[in-house]
Assembly symmetry: C2
Homo-oligomer: 561 residues x 2
């Protein structure tokens, strides 16, 4: 095999070589040095507009200026931040590779509690879902007695909906028709009869893709007419990243940490009124159950939010991907759609509402399949056509992910052969998650300087941490957020990877981190134990230094000049 070092360096053909000179001459380029031309060794770079010649980097093999540099990079891309896979996680990858290479650390593995990636943390796939997708992928298996009849029936139905009965065909841009119909039936059942029209269902590449598509539609205007989108703080950073990418105004409304991260309607109004001064608020994003905050919204709160959106004519984006992840006995998931319906026809026929769901969360945790759907209510029909047009440029969501979504919305029924195993697996996942939610909250709250709201739902704890002033100073000196310093030290001392609260947004002067509750109960107990030790050590370290430093100051002060 050839290697770079074996490359015979060839110089570029001279501008007047037979290969190029004709071309350049015909195009009006000068191929002979003239008054405007400064000859330099090696290559010359033409600035064609002026038909003069600038000198390039010169010698063969030497680097020269690039077309795409940090200076020329899209400023919107530059502005994007996404902490869930940010610097801490990149550092965790480095440490992991070091460990694999045999480098000794005070820990033997990196535990990635940074991302809601259930299978990576050992959660087992739901058998029925994987059977259906495998049957769709390789329909020869439909002849195999090893697969249950209900899984085969699902797979046959999905394949009938695919061009050429193959998962390898593009689906319609909105997704496979019969899967969209199953989604609509599922929503109707979930919402106890509130009607759902499959023409309002769009399958997506995970929920992120749907959220991004809706935001794309919304963003327009300049100056004080620029689109603003209301997002919770703390938020899942997809929202802020998408708004940065689209150059829309982020309108932050703060969740009430003192009140279990509840959404306070007055705060919503404050944020809205203040934003109105300099932009055009057009949409309101809500994450329920909350990410990273884990709260489950009350029906009353949802009513207030919808009323507010109605009054202010805001499109509501309800991120409901954790709708199956509710753990507290005194909480219940209320869909925005159902609450809107119950508020009466004036609301139900007017408020523009888009609800998002995903295969990645719930009890399936199928993140890698990139499946999801959105239900779009009361959208202007012409705008819906524009949405379909926009989606069609990307052709279609991945069809295996659509098939996975189909299983979630059309699971085995009581009379079917796979029902018992399906329910057992589903309950087991959700029961263990509920157990881990309690465990996490309890242990975190047992640590002095950590305070964690109940993890009512979703997959995360977002505890508030006390960071001593000395540590804050050090972080400032190192140009990082104080909770970034905390998380970095946690990672480097224990191998535990969590995400600083600053990546999600938080009230000025408060510090948090987000950790998933996904590791196995045993591992999670160990993790929380190590975290507790670390936190105490951290407090001690920075208080000690402070004490030492103060006493040093005192000593210095007592010494004679």
């Amino acid at each position: 095999m050839l290697r770079l070092r074996d490359l015979v360096q060839r110089s570029v053909p001279p501008r007047n070589s037979p290969l190029y000179s004709g071309i350049w001459q015909r195009a009006g380029y000068k191929t002979q040095p003239g008054p405007q031309v400064t000859e330099q060794p090696g290559l010359a770079r033409f600035s064609t507009a002026e038909a003069t010649v600038q000198t390039g980097a010169g010698h063969p093999g030497r680097m020269r200026e690039k077309s795409l540099t940090m200076a020329s990079l899209s400023p919107q891309v530059k502005a994007v931040e996404y902490a869930v896979r940010g610097p801490i996680v990149i550092r965790a990858g480095d440490i992991e590779r070091r460990l694999q290479q045999g480098v000794k650390e005070s820990f033997t593995e990196v535990i990635k509690a940074n991302i809601g990636d259930a299978h990576a943390m050992g959660q087992q796939p739901i058998t029925f879902l994987r059977q259906v997708v495998a049957l769709c992928c390789y329909p020869e298996l439909l002849q195999s007695p090893a697969f249950p009849e209900d899984a085969k029936q699902r797979a046959r139905r999905i394949l009938q909906g695919c061009g050429g009965q193959s998962l390898g065909s593009y689906s319609a841009s909105q997704g496979v028709d019969c899967i969209r119909q199953h989604v609509a039936e599922y929503i109707t059942e979930r919402d106890q009869g509130v009607p759902s029209d499959w023409n309002n269902i769009y399958l997506t590449t995970g929920a992120s893709d749907g959220i991004m598509s809706i935001l794309k539609l919304l963003v327009s205007g300049e100056g004080s007419g620029r689109t603003g989108v209301m997002i919770p703080i703390p938020q899942y950073p997809l929202y802020s990243a998408a708004l940065s990418e689209l150059d829309a105004v982020h309108i932050n409304y703060y969740l009430d940490e003192e009140n279990c991260w509840a959404l306070d309607i007055e705060e919503l109004q404050r944020a809205y009124l203040s934003a109105k001064q300099h932009c055009q608020p057009r949409a309101l994003c809500i994450i329920n159950p909350g990410n990273p905050t884990g709260q489950v919204q009350s029906k009353k709160c949802i009513e207030e939010v919808l009323h507010f959106a109605y009054e202010e004519n805001l499109l509501v984006m309800a991120d409901e991907v954790y709708q199956d992840n509710v753990y507290s006995a005194d909480c219940q998931f209320h869909s925005f759609k159902k609450v809107l319906y119950e508020m009466g026809l004036e609301y139900f026929s007017n408020v523009e509402l888009v609800s998002f769901h995903s295969t990645s969360k719930g009890y399936t945790g199928e993140c890698g399949f990139r499946g999801g759907y959105m239900e779009v209510l009361n959208m202007d029909p012409q705008v819906k056509d524009q949405l379909v047009k926009l989606l069609s440029v990307r052709l279609c969501p991945p069809v295996p992910g659509q098939a996975a979504m189909d299983v979630i919305v059309n699971p085995p029924r009581e009379h079917e052969p796979s029902y018992a195993q399906f329910i057992k697996e589903k309950s087991s996942v959700l029961d263990v998650l509920a157990q881990k939610a309690r465990l996490t909250e309890q242990i975190l709250n047992s640590v002095p300087g950590i305070k964690c709201n109940p993890v009512q739902g979703a997959m995360y704890a977002f505890p508030r941490i006390f960071i001593p002033p000395r540590a804050i100073q050090e972080a400032k000196a190192r140009s990082m957020a104080p909770d970034m310093l905390y998380c970095l030290k946690l990672l480097e001392e224990t191998g535990i990877c969590v995400v600083p609260g600053s990546g999600f947004g938080q009230k000025e002067g408060t510090y948090h981190f987000r950790m998933t509750i996904l590791p196995s109960p045993e591992k999670l107990t160990v993790l929380l134990g190590k975290l507790k030790e670390f936190h105490l050590r951290f407090l001690e370290e920075y208080s000690q230094e402070e004490a030492q430093s103060s006493s040093r100051h005192r000593e210095e002060a007592q010494q004679p000049d």
Copy 2:
């Protein structure tokens, strides 16, 4: 089940109801009518910024102004056009549904020759690929004697690369490491030893996603500093759609129809120099083999293009998704990477080149899996970090699509059990495609008023059609492009769905359509026969009308006043 019509209409709680009044009062809203308040029946809409009240649509259930309308929609989204799934295809869907409902037409089925969707046209999946993906989806099958050992070995390797050994885990944003390594090895082998570094490989959600990501990085500036991107005309409309979405300048360079759609370097320079006046050209897109044009570029032409990109410091985006689809005996696929390498180190170490590939084309046609990769050469390392950050917001490409890509780059080897069947299937698909390419070109060229360049590669014919002036007039009167009228009539009279050339771009005054060569040889023969009949009828109809209309004019002129 509840239905909309069963809904008890409830009016919205009055603004001074216990539910809301407190909230609104605290927020500074007036809940009692005052001087600024005009009371109207039904609902009032607050304009909170001014704390005055405007009247809403009034009565419960009545529609009122929406937040998201055609007027407020993103102008970039509005500007997007994507003919491959445009009006003709939407119309085809309508007709298809009518046929399903038993409505009689002069044809019994709609033949969708609009999109490169091989499986939908009956192409069978490659067994080995589907076996590997099914094994990854449902690893219990690894125990089954029905699967060959080489497929199991591939699946085990892929699963080892996945978190928790599950296809359901998020992969790294760039894709699964071992698959990226296989891609790099594949490229090195394809390019006869030219080195490929897997750190430069990014797995993508089809090629479209990769192309979009690179364009996102590139777009910046305002006025004459706005990023321009050079695209071929005719082009695959993803490019124009993406540039519209990103609000970048389209710099069109015309392929030379008289010369088998060759890329003419002088035309490239003309387009560049002219664009330089009003924008900042930053990148050059090439599709080779061509879509929709089917040409395969010569090595000399690629050298010239790369030299041009070098001179003008343009990032080269090489869309090489049809690299396995070359049919003409006198053509050969040359990768931009290999040609760049052979031009010498000065080029190879400087030109920023991104090459795209996909699972959707070639001999696999796995469109639904949305798999692909890009290889990124000479990109600024900091910009690469920004690319990874951008990709990470979408978390990862679909992992089943990554697994499908793995099979393409790591197919069965000669000594392996699946080799014989794999080669048989692969050759069969490619041989039949080559046969259909010739068939299409021959039949089209036998029709008076149609002229088709050789289909050297890819999956499409893009014939030039003569449209009589009378038809052009009618199209203008109906506010549509003449070839849109042609394609619409073709669809409505024969059920054949092709895409007007105007959706891809074409020289002013010329007309084309794009059709795929994907239907089975039998179906394709029938399709081309019907197309021929239609075309002759179309010519006759519009010449006759013209003749009739002329003779009517003559008669009228001859009548006494």
